[in-house]
């Protein structure tokens, strides 16, 4: 069975990469991702993996090298953060458009300007429509598990889409936590052969990748991509079930805490779910019916699970660690509202943009949001739909 180890978050991701043993890794250093790639470079050096490791001059080149290797049928991984992901943006949609199952870790970090190295989700949310599967992880354990699952999901013949796994920069990436890792042989046994339907190196069946499609076929290609994303849900569920049997870890796509009889709940991605859970526990002691909803998956959007988790609520606050600058709140909020829009009965849904640029999100802030929510639950009305938590005005 698995064993317990104490690792910093980036080391947990590098460990998963070592066990996955990809054919090619190409990456470029950026805080707070750097340690993942450095650990991995040492695995290559020590002969612990069979990977071709390519150091390049930018993330644009890193993702391009990944795309090149994946079109030859290789299992390919990388990792980045912030401006690095932004610089990859042009190639992200090449990976998804060509249906290449590249898998990466994104250690969430705020986008410039102003320059900042700490955690928020503006980087990965900026790539939410790039056709990549997106997992968000509360801690190193989930990051590690999500990364291994992502390989199986991305490479599945019914999916063939790239996937990114998020862990929170510094909060998760640089802190030591105890996690349970699988045996190398278990990971090896869990992964399947990566059967690429086409390969640029298959000289018996020559193929061209990415040729021009104009008004004639482009639309159909994109529709296929959209269909693949929707259909990937079945594979995601099947892979998660299999992984649960292997690891013993129950990790529903949308996780909940104390939700069954809750009147109000906070929905939040990644590490802040931990803070919220402890606040819920405290409020429960005072008899306050609070709950937590934590989506692990953001792309494809787990609509059914979100509806199920919110069905008994009077009030729901969605927390976003990035702003969409639309005047209508953050990205998770918009999508949750849209998912619930057609229901006859639904909670009042408010939004809190929080923790931008790594601003610490405290227990008191979460309590404040719950406090606001309790009056929303009582009155059925919210004074402000979109709020900013913990900002100095």
């Amino acid at each position: 069975m698995g064993k317990k180890v104490a690792l910093i978050g980036t080391a947990a991701m590098a460990t998963a990469m070592r066990q996955i043993n990809p054919d090619v890794v190409s990456a470029f250093p950026i805080t707070p991702q750097t340690a993942i790639v450095q650990d991995f470079a040492s695995y290559v050096h020590n002969g612990m993996v069979d990977t071709e490791f390519i150091t390049v001059e930018s993330e644009h080149s890193a993702m391009s090298a990944c795309v090149g290797a994946a079109s030859a049928g290789a299992r390919v991984m990388t990792a980045t953060s912030s401006a690095g992901l932004a610089l990859m943006w042009e190639i992200l949609s090449i990976a998804s458009g060509l249906r290449l199952p590249v898998v990466m870790t994104n250690v969430n970090r705020a986008l410039s300007a102003p320059i900042n190295i700490h955690c928020d989700h503006s980087d990965s949310m900026g790539a939410r429509d790039a056709g990549w599967i997106q997992f968000y992880s509360e801690n190193s354990q989930e990051g590690y598990d999500n990364l291994i699952k992502s390989i199986r999901i991305a490479e599945d013949e019914n999916v063939r889409l790239p996937a990114m796994v998020m862990i929170d920069g510094f909060i998760t990436g640089h802190s030591t936590e105890i996690l349970e890792i699988l045996e190398d042989s278990q990971v090896k046994g869990f992964l399947k052969e990566n059967k690429a339907p086409y390969s640029v190196l298959d000289i018996e069946n020559p193929s061209t990748f990415g040729p021009l499609q104009l008004t004639d076929y482009y639309f159909e290609t994109k529709k296929q991509e959209a269909d693949a994303m929707v259909a990937s849900m079945d594979t995601i569920k099947a892979v998660c079930k299999e992984y649960r049997e292997l690891s013993g870890r129950e990790q529903p796509l949308v996780d909940t805490y104390m939700i069954d009889d809750a009147e109000m709940a906070i929905m939040v991605l990644s590490s802040t779910a931990g803070t919220t859970r402890s606040v819920v526990r405290e409020l429960r002691k005072d008899g306050i019916k609070a709950g937590l909803i934590k989506p692990r998956l953001f792309r494809p959007f787990p609509k059914e699970e979100i509806i199920e988790s919110t069905k008994n609520l009077k009030a729901l606050a969605v927390l976003d660690r990035s702003d969409s600058f639309s005047g209508q709140g953050g990205p998770l909020y918009s999508e949750v509202r849209s998912a619930l829009y057609d229901l006859d009965t639904k909670p009042v849904i408010t939004n809190y943009v929080y923790g931008l640029g790594g601003r610490d999100t405290t227990i008191d802030q979460i309590k404040k949001a719950f406090n606001d929510l309790s009056s929303v639950a009582k009155t059925g009305k919210a004074e402000n739909l979109v709020n900013y938590l913990g900002v100095r005005e």
Partner: protein, 293 residues
């Protein structure tokens, strides 16, 4: 620029922040030299814009009091280019690392050279990525071992001086941050030069680069003036000199300088005054538009 007319001291270019570089870092030498060069050239704080890359070098943003722009990694040159076109009266300087300049931003470097835009580019060349804790950079010596390349670099390094020369830069020099006096002179000439001026500064990174140390450089460098054969108007000679560091000796000084119209010189829009000084409030475009109605 009137010499020494500003009555300033180098410390007048300090901010309230003390540099955060590691003790002994070569960035200190560059920092001291550039402030002295400003004083010697009679420049005032508000007459200078420095655009910085991201890196230990870029952290200078917080330690020199002029107009400042902390750009993205690799993108300092295009930002400086835009600023120069908007206000060509400003003295515009770019300070960034070797990773910034010939790695992620390499494309901008060669195009800025050939464009001959009138800015001064100071490359803090420590042959490593300092800020991200010492990975190899495109100027790292072959075989240089780091955490990202435990087996040593297998690629050939880029020689920034040769690259600038072959990209048609009109002022190309190399300095050493361990020789502040000489570096100050080079900075002054570079800033005075009309057109794109490039200074490759050999900058020891005492924390991560244990190979290219102060001693390592001191054993190898010599000043170009000591070679009477070399004329800075002679591109071929400059190119030969730039390739010398392959052979163990490293020349510093001005390799090449040429007078040529700079990019802005050809632009009608800024012939009479900088773009920022154009008043657009009271321009009535109705007359022009009615001719199309």
């Amino acid at each position: 620029m009137n010499k020494k007319s500003n009555n300033l001291k180098p410390s007048d270019f300090n901010t309230q922040r003390k540099p955060t570089w590691c003790l002994g870092c070569g960035n200190f030498g560059i920092w001291n030299s550039i402030k002295k060069a400003f004083v010697n050239l009679g420049l005032k704080n508000h007459q200078i814009l420095i655009v910085y890359g991201i890196g230990c070098s870029g952290n200078t943003t917080n330690f020199i009091k002029t107009y400042a722009f902390h750009a993205l990694h690799g993108r300092a040159l295009p930002i400086a280019t835009g600023a120069k076109l908007a206000n060509h009266k400003l003295n515009i300087i770019v300070m960034a690392g070797d990773g910034d300049g010939v790695g992620i931003g390499g494309n901008h470097f060669i195009h800025s050279c050939r464009r001959n835009i009138d800015i001064t580019y100071i490359m803090h060349d420590n042959k490593t990525y300092g800020l991200t804790t010492g990975q190899t950079s495109p100027t790292s010596d072959k075989g240089y071992k780091t955490k990202s390349t435990p087996l040593g670099v297998i690629e050939e390094p880029i020689n920034p001086v040769s690259l600038a020369l072959s990209s048609n830069a009109t002022f190309v020099a190399r300095g050493f941050s361990g020789d502040v006096k000489y570096l100050t002179n080079i900075f002054e000439s570079a800033i005075k030069h009309k057109g794109f001026s490039f200074v490759d500064v050999l900058q020891p990174c005492v924390t991560f680069n244990k190979k290219n140390t102060y001693d390592w450089y001191r054993e190898r460098i010599y000043k170009l003036e000591s070679d009477k054969e070399h004329k800075k108007e002679d591109l071929i000679s400059a190119f030969k000199k730039s390739k010398e560091d392959m052979g163990g000796k490293i020349p510093i000084g001005v390799f090449f300088q040429q007078e040529k119209p700079s990019y802005g010189d050809g632009l009608k829009q800024i012939e009479r005054k900088p773009l920022v000084d154009h008043v657009i409030n009271d321009i009535d475009i109705n007359n022009l538009l009615t001719s199309y109605f």
